[in-house]
């Protein structure tokens, strides 16, 4: 091939790549007729699908709703926070029956769009939006975190445990504070090391950062690290695997990700909350306002399955179920960081 030919070839390749870039917009629509079905739009948080945690859990709820309730699901993956509003508005303009915003970071965008489309139903996960057409799906993460903190406190052999958060925002401190209280509840002399991956949305999808923060905490003597950090946490789990120590998963059940090295996972049933709110729309009883998912209805909790049952002694499980009852009955008060910040 002549030099000119090679160059032309390269230019063509470049153009093809550019077209690929142009069509990487995150929206995807399933096949099939959507005219007479109830349409639900889900706008995912920055990390996007594949985080094996928060976003994947929300998407699972939507998929289950599509299978069991026959709704027509749509979802969008904004490339960055600035695009959240565009996705929400587009779904609202299309007249979807419910538009769900995933994550605290979408609060301002959703507030704005929900005000512009008062007749459209919205739901937001992890944030409080005071509009009559918005359902705020709130979790009592501090309670679930308290339980996994108690497990960590009972299982640790060094008396030092770690916490790694994603973005440094009050919502993530809610996990941290609940966890630390849980640890101290069962082991008052334990030390809790705390680190955050960053102050921007990138902190929720930076597994490199997650792994190096985790290695640093393991080096300082921690033997169990709880992460609440989206896919940043995948790096924490990897560090536990490398060092032969423990990580604690978050949001979804992540026990399978490194069997034997994920002590348990703090479950936050985002999937259930999505499914339930869709069901409300389908059954015509959608209600705005707060929908709270706490321990008493297993909206939060901890995961026990074949991957970790050998890691947690039965007496620990017994103790933790007592603690759970005490939280539900109000005998133990877990601090909700977001209530005061």
């Amino acid at each position: 091939m002549s030099k000119e030919g090679t160059n032309r070839c390269a230019v063509i390749i470049a153009c093809v790549l550019l077209v690929l870039v142009a069509c990487q917009g995150g929206e995807k629509q399933p096949e099939g007729d959507q005219a007479e079905r109830i349409r639900i739009g889900l706008v995912l948080s920055v990390g996007g699908l594949g985080d094996k945690s928060f976003n994947d859990s929300a998407y699972e709820g939507l998929t289950r709703a599509a299978e069991e309730l026959g709704i027509y699901p749509l979802y969008g993956q904004p490339e960055q926070m600035a695009e959240d509003e565009k996705y929400l508005r587009q779904y609202a303009e299309e007249g979807l029956d419910l538009v769900i915003g995933v994550g605290f970071l979408m609060k301002d965008a959703l507030e704005q769009v929900a005000g512009e489309f008062p007749d459209t139903r919205f739901a937001i996960i992890d944030a409080q939006v005071d509009e009559p057409n918005v359902a705020s799906l709130i979790f009592r993460e501090h309670e679930g975190s308290f339980l996994v903190g108690a497990i960590a406190g009972l299982v640790t052999s060094t008396g030092k445990v770690g916490f790694i958060g994603g973005m440094d925002i009050p919502l993530i401190h809610k996990f941290e504070v609940g966890y630390a209280e849980g640890v101290k509840h069962v082991r008052p002399d334990a030390e809790v090391l705390v680190a955050y991956a960053g102050s921007g949305p990138q902190a929720f999808h930076d597994p490199v950062k997650g792994k190096s923060l985790a290695l640093s905490q393991f080096d300082r003597g921690a033997d169990i690290i709880f992460q609440a950090a989206g896919s940043t946490g995948n790096g924490v789990i990897d560090a536990a695997l490398e060092r032969g120590l423990f990580a604690i998963g978050v949001d979804a059940n992540q026990n399978y990700m490194a069997p034997g090295h994920v002590l348990t996972s703090m479950l936050k049933r985002v999937d259930i909350s999505v499914f339930e709110i869709v069901k409300d729309v389908v059954e015509g009883r959608f209600k705005g306002g707060e929908h709270v998912y706490g321990l008493e209805i297993d909206g939060v909790g901890y995961a026990l399955d074949e991957h970790n049952e050998s890691l947690i002694p039965p007496e620990v499980i017994e103790r933790v179920s007592v603690i759970k009852q005490e939280i539900v009955s109000g005998r133990i008060q877990v601090t909700d960081y977001t209530a005061t910040h």
Binding site: L18, L20, L49, G50, K52, E79, Y196, D206, P207, D219
Partner: protein, 298 residues
């Protein structure tokens, strides 16, 4: 105060090395390109291509070594693209670099979604991982070899002299019979190969690929290159310093009850301080950013 001193130790040293490796690869890559006279701000995008291709090849073939090779090849191909745009087609070097960065973000997300059924991140299984040699994965040692190699090549070999000549005074090099554009082509491709390897370090270190996982390290590598006065050893020192700053802030976090943001700004403050005062004048290669056109006798 004891707490602060407790930070220093072997673990901080290892963490510094781990943090520096992607920067070292990328800044060495930048060194090749810029010493030949071609600005390469596309390092970030090239790294991202390397990260994705290294991870995806390893996940599909279960051979991490093939992943590494693939990352180098893909990085080289993106370098080739930059070379075509800037040398053959004589596009503005900055704009081409910016385009490559945008391409890197978009194309890797797109390809990831295609390969992974809509997902934007994926994990490497145990068989897809590089082994640990001592405290590090093999890429760490390769980075040291690459830096040393770049130094020896550029200052102790004839082709290295030619490469520098092309970046300083292409006309003079041309009259001495050096093929300016071919030299630049090779330099830019080498640049892509290094950046691709630097990117590949990220998924092999962390065990997963995530969208946009380079998070600005290509630009920090470029700053390290300038800070190191366009010399591979100077750039190495700068990368280690940046790596140290980041590792230091990570191990400081949670001590003394200060907010995490205070620690997180340390690397950036250090960068600004370093760039403004301490190093003195950093002079770029004189033909940097300039297209070379041969005079013809027609």
């Amino acid at each position: 105060m004891n707490d602060i001193f407790a930070v220093f130790g072997v673990s901080l040293l290892w963490a510094t090395v781990r943090k520096s490796v992607p920067l070292i690869f990328a800044s060495t890559g930048g060194f090749f390109s810029e010493r030949a006279g071609v600005i390469n701000i596309g390092l970030e995008g090239m790294m991202l291509f390397g990260a994705f291709s290294g991870a995806i090849i390893s996940v599909t073939t279960h051979n991490p070594w093939l992943g590494i090779a693939g990352a180098a090849v893909v990085g080289g191909m993106i370098g080739y693209l930059h070379a075509i745009a800037t040398i053959t087609l004589r596009a503005n070097q900055i704009i081409s670099g910016v385009a490559i960065n945008m391409l890197g973000v978009g194309a890797t997300i797109f390809l990831c979604q295609v390969c992974m059924g809509g997902e934007r991140s994926f994990s490497l299984g145990p068989a897809d991982r590089l082994p640990l040699w001592g405290p590090f994965i093999p890429l760490v040692y390769l980075a040291m070899l690459v830096v040393g190699g770049a130094f020896v090549f550029c200052y102790f070999t004839i082709p290295g002299l030619r490469l520098r000549a092309v970046g300083e005074h292409p006309r003079a090099a041309d009259t001495q019979g050096v093929n300016v554009n071919r030299t630049r082509f090779l330099a830019v491709i080498t640049s892509g190969v290094c950046a691709g390897l630097g990117g590949a370090y990220l998924p092999f270190f962390s065990g997963s690929f995530t969208k946009n996982m380079t998070s600005g390290q290509g630009f920090i590598a470029l700053a390290a290159l300038i800070f190191g006065k366009w010399n591979p050893l100077g750039a190495l020192a700068a990368c280690l310093l940046f790596g140290f700053a980041d590792a230091f802030q990570e191990s400081l976090q949670g001590r003394g009850g200060l907010p995490s943001q205070i620690f997180q700004v340390i690397p950036y403050i250090l960068t600004i301080v370093a760039l403004t005062g301490i190093i003195g004048r950093s002079t770029p290669p004189s033909a940097l950013g300039k297209h070379y056109e041969r005079e013809t006798s027609k």
